[in-house]
């Protein structure tokens, strides 16, 4: 599973980097980022889904291909 943020939708609510800080980060203006390669480790799946389902702009995508 890979995490991706759609920069067209993201408005910097920051739910993702608060709920899943090991997967998401913030840039200098508070927009969400995916600092690493975005690969979601099995132990991170729960928080990744939590971030996706709490993003008010529905900007987070968790695609199944590696």
């Amino acid at each position: 599973m890979k995490a991706h943020i759609d920069p067209q939708r993201c408005q910097g609510h920051g739910r993702c980097y608060t709920l899943a800080p090991d997967l998401f980060g913030e840039d200098d203006e508070g927009y969400g980022t995916v600092p690493g390669d975005g690969v979601v480790q099995p132990a991170q799946v729960h928080t990744a889904r939590l971030a996706r389902s709490n993003c008010p702009e529905s900007a987070i995508d968790l695609s199944e291909e590696s």
Binding site: Q11, G12, H13, G14, Y17, T18, E26, D28, E29, G30, L50, S53, N54, C55, P56, E57, S58
Partner: protein, 423 residues
């Protein structure tokens, strides 16, 4: 020092006449039918807007009123979201609904950028503020905020009953934003008056409202001049020096943004803290759970923001159009109720219940789209710290007199009197 000639004249000096714009007749008094005659400033709405909105969502999802010169009230999450995203057809030229529509040529900046700005002007005006309000930037204020919350509780002494809205919640955002803007904390009582006029006095005579706005801007220009003479490391000096597209900001932009930060930062957060304490005071199970598991406070705070979302915004319709089976006219208001969206059962399970550990909570308390609250990270920090300190110091408390609780009317809703028994 060179004189900054942007501020030698006040932007209001250039048009000494009555400000242009459209006024309509003020209609007050009991509402006949909420679907055709709603008013968010009548006592029934202030006491309980949720029952009214839940009923409208079922029988008339886009309600109307002739008051305020014509306005609409959508109550479904999907409709609120669509309007928030549609900055082409709905303008932010005025986000507080009253009986006065500011002149069209106030767009695209509006009086209090960026909240009153439309694209493309909005983008730059917002971008200036973002770095100052990121989660990391506001984290630096957490220790001072926590110490301030403790000092407020220290000041309760051994009083058995305190007014948590007046003696606690209110002071926290005032102190934080006054510090950020570099205003003297002892000016706090004046800020309260400015806010009440802007947000609660929408049916007051327009001349009275203008006079109060003038007092607010007199105060802000005084602060600007003080900062020109003595620049400091604060938001006021930052805005005076800021540049957009190679130019410094116009004086009305600097003063307008300061006005926005003062108004948007205080009443809203005060309401969120107060509503959360009110809920915990009347719901012992939730209170006990948070006392036992303080790490739950951030999750609980999100649920409080969903269920008791303090902020409703407004838009102005740009052109006549048919929208969701209603005929909207140019210059009609739309009341954009994030509180109603947050209680739509099509979007949330158990929408009308407070579920303190709700895991999936895609609420819209801080808005949606390009106007997402710039202060949301600051507000969340203040709310969390205010609740953590209160629960640590006063783990047991209850409503002293449920009928003594009063709520603000208008577009920002929260308790204004909240007598709590703390011993």
């Amino acid at each position: 020092m060179a004189v900054d000639d942007r501020f030698t004249q006040d932007h209001r000096d250039s048009d000494p006449d009555q400000p242009a714009g459209t006024r309509n007749e003020v209609v007050t008094g009991p509402v006949a039918d909420w679907a055709t005659d709603f008013s968010h400033v009548e006592p029934e709405w202030a006491a309980d807007p949720y029952t009214i909105q839940d009923d409208l969502r079922q029988r008339c999802p886009v309600a109307h009123t002739e008051r305020f010169g014509g306005a609409w009230l959508p109550t479904r999450y999907a409709d609120v979201a669509e309007i928030a995203y549609d900055t082409e057809r709905f303008s932010s030229r005025s986000v507080v609904m009253s009986n006065f529509r500011p002149p069209l040529d106030l767009a695209p900046m509006g009086a209090i950028p960026p909240i009153s700005s439309d694209p493309p002007f909005h983008h730059g005006a917002r971008k200036l503020l973002l770095p100052v309000f990121t989660r990391s930037a506001v984290a630096k204020r957490e220790a001072a905020t926590r110490a301030f919350c403790h000092s407020l509780i220290d000041s309760f002494g051994d009083r058995p009953v305190v007014d948590a809205a007046h003696d606690y919640a209110q002071h926290i955002p005032i102190r934080v934003i006054a510090d950020m803007l570099g205003f003297p904390p002892e000016d706090a009582p004046q800020f309260k008056v400015f806010i009440e006029n802007t947000l609660e006095g929408v049916n007051n005579p327009q001349d009275e409202r203008m006079e109060a706005f003038n007092q607010l801007f007199d105060y802000l220009y005084k602060q600007i001049h003080d900062h020109l003479d003595d620049p400091r490391d604060d938001l006021t000096t930052y805005l005076i020096n800021a540049e957009l597209y190679g130019h410094k900001l116009q004086s009305e932009h600097v003063a307008g943004t300061m006005a926005l930060l003062l108004i948007a930062g205080i009443d809203t957060t005060w309401s969120a803290i107060g509503a959360s304490l009110w809920h915990l005071a009347k719901t012992p199970a939730d209170r006990e759970r948070l006392v036992a598991e303080p790490e739950m406070v951030p999750t609980a705070a999100e649920e409080m923001l969903r269920a008791y979302a303090p902020v409703t915004m407004a838009r102005l319709v740009k052109q006549d159009m048919r929208w969701r089976d209603v005929d909207m006219k140019a210059e009609d208001w739309v009341l954009l109720s994030f509180p109603a969206a947050n209680r739509d059962p099509a979007q949330f399970d158990r929408a009308d219940e407070v579920v303190i550990d709700r895991e999936v909570n895609r609420h819209a308390a801080f808005g949606l789209g390009i106007h997402r609250c710039v202060g949301s990270h600051l507000a969340r920090m203040e709310l969390r710290v205010a609740l953590e300190v209160w629960l640590e110091r006063i783990p047991s408390f209850s409503l002293d007199d449920p009928s003594g609780v009063t709520w603000a009317k208008g577009q920002v809703r929260g308790p204004r009197t909240l007598p709590l028994r703390i011993a």
